[in-house]
Symmetry: C2
Subunit: 186 residues, 2 copies
């Protein structure tokens, strides 16, 4: 059931997906779906929560630190090229979440806030920077998250033209060289 809902939201977006279609593909009635999930927006919440299991940004204090965290981001980009459905779900819903009254708006706002803090921490630690709140470190962290997101849309439209992991790795290495030229040479 959640697989079908995931596929349908990824293929159509949340707003354009219909509960009737999801129920039909799952061999249930709409009333049957609503019995378990109460509403279309709560079904979306279940899809997003399941998607997060095992994702690094949900690891909390147990996550890898510093350079190991940044390497994990490149590994994630590499794995993403093997899981097009999840990439599509995330790309479509994160952008759709900025539309009016979207039920996943708070989810994505909070997700980015958490991710930004994690990547900023990792850069600060990897580069041995004195100030954890330096604007340039924050700008670099936001850029790393942005490049991963933006590459997904380009890759979904034209997979042969985009190497998500190689581009992500290049940006992270280049930013490390800028933030800490003594530690990371070009």
């Amino acid at each position: 059931m959640l697989n079908i809902a995931t596929d349908t939201f990824a293929a159509r977006g949340y707003n354009n997906a219909s509960l009737a279609e999801i129920a039909d593909r799952a061999g249930l009635t709409q009333a049957g779906v609503l019995h378990y999930f109460r509403s279309k927006s709560l079904l979306l919440t279940s899809v997003l929560e399941r998607r997060d299991q095992g994702d690094i940004e949900q690891l909390g204090p147990e996550r890898p630190r510093g350079l190991a965290f940044l390497r994990h981001l490149v590994d994630t980009a590499l794995r993403n090229a093997e899981r097009e459905g999840l990439v599509r779900l995330y790309a479509v819903l994160s952008a759709e979440s900025v539309t009016e009254d979207h039920p996943a708006q708070a989810y994505f706002r909070d997700r980015y806030t958490g991710l930004r803090a994690f990547v900023t921490d990792a850069l600060t630690e990897a580069c041995g920077l004195p100030d954890p709140d330096a604007p340039r470190t924050r700008d670099a962290a936001n850029a790393i998250i942005a490049v991963m997101d933006g590459l997904q849309v380009q890759w979904l439209l034209d997979p042969d033209a985009v190497a998500m992991a190689a581009s992500t790795d290049l940006v992270i290495r280049s930013l490390l060289s800028t933030l800490a030229p003594d530690r990371f040479s070009n």
Copy 2:
């Protein structure tokens, strides 16, 4: 009329926007809107074409070259922070375009193909690289476009947390240092 359609597509996405609402806000009947634009998808085409006027990727052979082109991208990110409606339109529709049978899918695929070629050219020229088809240059070009796109979604959700122009500038400078360390030092 196109302003109202632009605002409505930006606020709701294409799939979720209704012609009835657009007509109503414009003080027209649906038949009146269809008289001028034929269909909802042709109305979207008109909105996207108008949005492109004056945008750098449409400048063709007259566009600035090399470093001047890259600087123009940073200027675009700076100007984007003053035109939230257009940013929203682009962010929502580009991601929505990867959904099934979306009428703007070819538009965005072509747009990215063109942009990638322009940014690859600019990097090759700015860095004095011998090979215009080097994979690393392509990876860097894709990343620059991606970072601009990804920052828009983060900024729309949380404007105070994201400096689009500063992050874009930092990524471009860092990539230049990686691609041509003799020309661009950190």
